[in-house]
Amino acid sequence: MSIFDYFRDRKKSTPASIAKERLQIIVAHERGQRNQPDYLPQLQQEIIDVISKYVPIDREQVHVALDNQDDCSILELNITLPERP
């Protein structure tokens, strides 16, 4: 190994480490989606439809998540309402 390699190696991110980092993120994300039940996207859409009948909301401001803790599932619904004028 030459002296130049030594300096090159000190750089933090190699192409392989970038690949690993990107993969870890996308794989974790996709595993999360894989485990959610099929009805979740539709549930989210219907909730948005109901709420927007009364309040104008942004689709992006609705978060639906299903958490499994031991033998108990928690459906978490988080809606940010627009600020009052």
Binding site: D9, T14, P15, A16, S17, A19, K20, R22, L23, Q24, I26, V27, E30, R31, R34
Partner: protein, 269 residues
């Protein structure tokens, strides 16, 4: 009791058929009666890799439809008395394979064989689904490359949800086979390492097959690369078969070969 092993990957071109041929042949050479089943309907290729393309008369779909029987359809390998090949059909009909048909054929094969190696097509369509559906064990073939690793993770998800075992609340034994591995590029930080891929997929490592000229040489001749006992890839596949049979042997070919002075000067490989 017969064991059904699916060789799968999601992504195409990573070495599923090469691996199916090598593992099937390796099991047969160790005395187990083995059949390799090509599930890639429409794009049959296992026959070419095994060198029996000119002896195909009937195929998997004929067998399912009752146009032929097992004896007429199975092709006996010329190198081992224990090895048989069940070729895929070249039909363009995507619905030629059915769950019931595949189950009936596999059950018939289980009566005479110790190992049934299912060579899955790429993708997540019907052929790939049926190849894994009845499996007891899976070999997930992965290249150290982003799209292959991601697709492998996807297949692991399907194995644990869309298979007979998963439906019955049992687990399919999962094995990672890393192929086309280039230790030099890993050392230069250009390629994902074995431990990187293990970290991401977190399933047990069955083997690492180095990128090797022997693979193309073998497929050109229609000889499974595991028969090339002098080659690195052939030896790595032999090790993988031993591990599949439960032996605990160390992994080889993970380090870059140090080049000697002459090799450096003349750039030989």
């Amino acid at each position: 009791m017969a064991k059904v092993i699916v060789v799968t990957s999601g992504k195409g071109g990573v070495g599923k058929t090469t691996t199916s041929a090598a593992i099937g042949t390796g099991l047969a050479l160790r005395g187990f009666k083995t059949v390799i089943v090509d599930f890639d309907v429409g794009l049959r290729n296992l026959d070419l890799i095994m060198g029996c393309e000119r002896r195909v008369v009937y195929d998997f779909v004929n067998l399912i439809n009752g146009d032929s029987n097992l004896n007429q359809t199975l092709i006996k390998d010329k190198r081992s008395d224990n090895l048989f090949i069940l070729p895929a059909s070249q039909t363009r009909d995507k619905d030629a394979l059915t769950v019931e048909g595949v189950e009936r054929v596999l059950n018939e094969l289980k009566e005479t064989f110790d190992y049934i190696v299912c060579d899955s097509p790429a993708g997540i369509e019907k052929g790939a689904h049926l190849a894994m559906y009845f499996a007891d064990e899976a070999v997930v073939v992965t290249n150290p490359e982003v799209s292959s690793v991601r697709d492998s993770d996807r297949m692991l998800g399907l194995l644990s949800s869309k298979s007979r075992r998963a439906e019955n609340g049992e687990k399919i034994k999962e094995n990672l086979l890393l192929t086309r591995y280039n230790p030099e590029r890993v050392e230069n930080g250009e390629m994902l390492s074995v431990s990187d891929v293990e970290d991401i997929l977190s399933i047990p490592l069955l083997g690492v097959i180095p990128e090797s000229q022997a693979v193309l040489k073998a497929s050109n001749q229609g000889i499974p690369v595991i028969m090339d006992e002098k080659s690195d890839a052939g030896q790595a596949y032999s090790d993988a078969v031993e591990r599949l049979l439960g032996k605990d042997i160390p992994h080889r070919f993970l380090e870059a070969q140090k080049k000697g002075l002459l090799q450096r000067l003349f750039g030989g490989r």
